[in-house]
Amino acid sequence: MSVLLDVKNLSKHFPIHGGFFHRVVSQLKAVDDVSFVLEKGKTMGLVGESGCGKSTLGRAVLRLHEPTGGTVVLDGTDITKLGAQALVNARRDMQIIFQDPYASLSPRRTIQQTLLEPLETHNIGTAESRQEKIEELLDIVGLRKHILHRYPHEFSGGQRQRIGIARALTLEPKFIVADEAVSALDVSVQSQVLNLISNLQRKLGISFLFISHDLAVVQHICDDVGVMYLGRLVEKATATSLYKDPKHPYTKALLSAIPTPDPTIKNERQILKGDVPSPLNPPSGCTFRTRCPKAMDICAQKAPVEVEVGTKDEPHWVACHLFESS
């Protein structure tokens, strides 16, 4: 299996200004030392709750936010080292689908203009071939040609999201970040768009980084899943492995918190106490220890490192002191 995306020690810190002259007083560690690997043609899910940094991570990987540290190697090229023009060229290989269908399309541009823009920016093809391409894209996402001269506000959320997907496909990227791509859609539309995304993945061989807070959605569409908490990746496994046998206490709590649409099942709820600590002032050592039912002394002193707990066929690692062999 060849590796498409190799992320190593990626960090994104936001400086907090305060006091006179806007001095930098502290850092908000939105993403802190994250590493993972995404294989060609596979989909990796990134789950976590609000404030965990998953959206920031998705954007840092694309250099939409400039990473403060670490490297991102996409198909052999370290994109963190690219200069401005080279980066623009590299963008052809990596695209993004956004969460909010109402804000992700330019309101004063027609669908045609929006879809042609990537092709025009990168000088791809001729006027005719571009037109053909965008019509083909509409077909792929299940929309009709005559919508091209319309404006975004004339469409429903689900339709806009499909247009967003079509736009992401224009440059034929190898890798797409889907940032909560279905969260803002109605439930019955979510499944339609999810099916579309998994079809695209299979037929066009695109790798996806699928960011979501919804574990059920992620299970359906992803091969691998990573769990984030306060800027760190705490567990990563194949989808099957993570859902059958979650290791990290946070993952367990997350999975048990999901309400099951079955009234006969009484969920053994592991309710975490307290709220997520502020990312401005994360707890020392393991950031999860303040809410962890299994916290030990060492958790306050040292941050846990990744420990491999799976097999070669089902890789599974977890960052938790409970699994470190002494």
Binding site: I96, L105, P107, G142, H149, R167, N199, K203
Partner: protein, 299 residues
């Protein structure tokens, strides 16, 4: 076959006429009676001003054939002033002056305001923003009439000194409004999307962000138009305004003497015409603002 999804899931989009924000606004505007009346009045004035420019009427504004202070007659519809000039002709000619000032100042200050506001907002909290805000602050803190006087003196002889002064001060309000809107807009995902595609920043500003401020620019330009006309009146009254030609301001200035002698015709003519235009324009401007406001629900 390329279709990845069964087309039975394709949602039909109604074949209604492409509804842009402008067509919706036009529809709402037409139902606002006060606004429509204002609109027609403004159009009428514009027509008059156009006629003057083309030499169709108002050409005899400087002739002083008449007797001093003649009353209203069929020859002199508003009578004559102290110099025997036809008040009606002068009032008509002043419409052209007013529109000229209004248009030039409104258009140019809006363009300047839009550009600076967009740059300032997009690069907010950077040195570009700081410089532009500083310039705006300085211009705003100079008393307007002093500034015009200084400019008029510095550019003595230049017939457009007054216009320059007005443009130099009026653009700041537009700029501030645009800046606020751009700061809000630049965080929207469609801007990020353009960035992700590789669109260069200046293209993003002018192609994606600025068009979303047009509704603000339109309303603001109508406000500046009226503001310019009113300022011109005061400036001309003070002697800093129009030099050749006549304007309502000049007429009102002249009329100060006449009023002391009990002759009000000059004063009434200029004031009435000015007042009607300003009222009409204000009502037109309000109606446009309401029409463009997506949250206002019409009855």
């Amino acid at each position: 076959m390329n279709t990845v999804l069964d087309t039975s899931t394709v949602e039909a989009v109604e074949d209604n006429v492409g509804e842009s924000m402008w067509s919706k606004a036009a529809y709402k505007f037409r139902r606002d009676r006060a606004g429509m009346i204002g609109f027609y009045v403004v159009v009428f004035y514009m027509f008059v001003a156009l006629g003057v420019t083309l030499g169709l009427w108002g050409t005899e504004w400087s002739d002083n054939n008449g007797q001093k202070w003649e009353g209203v007659s069929s020859e002199y519809w508003f009578g004559t002033n102290i110099l025997g000039q036809d008040i009606f002709e002068r009032a008509i000619y002043s419409t052209k002056t007013a529109f000229e000032v209004g248009l030039v100042v409104a258009v140019i200050s809006t363009i300047i305001g839009a550009i600076f506001g967009a740059l300032s907002g997009f690069y907010s909290n950077s040195w570009i923003d700081e410089i532009i805000l500083w310039i705006m602050g300085v211009l705003d803190s100079i008393p307007f009439y002093l500034f015009v006087a200084a400019l008029a003196f510095a550019l003595s002889g230049f017939p457009y000194a007054m216009h320059v002064a007005m443009i130099a001060t009026f653009w700041t309000t537009t700029s501030r409004l645009v800046r606020g809107e751009v700061i809000k807009l630049k965080n929207f995902e469609f801007v990020e999307a353009a960035h992700a595609v590789g669109v260069p920043q200046h293209t993003i500003i002018f192609r994606h962000i600025l068009p979303n401020t047009f509704h603000i620019l339109l309303v603001q330009s109508t406000i500046v138009f009226v503001g310019a006309i009113k300022s011109e009146v005061i400036l001309s009254f003070l002697g800093l305004g129009v030099k050749d030609g006549v304007s309502w301001g000049l007429m009102i200035a002249e009329s100060t003497l006449e009023v002391q002698a009990g002759e009000f015709a000059n004063f009434y003519a200029a004031s009435a015409l000015l007042f009607i235009l300003v009222m009409a324009f204000n009502s037109f401007s309000d109606a446009i603002q309401d029409a463009l406001d997506p949250r206002k629900v019409s009855a």
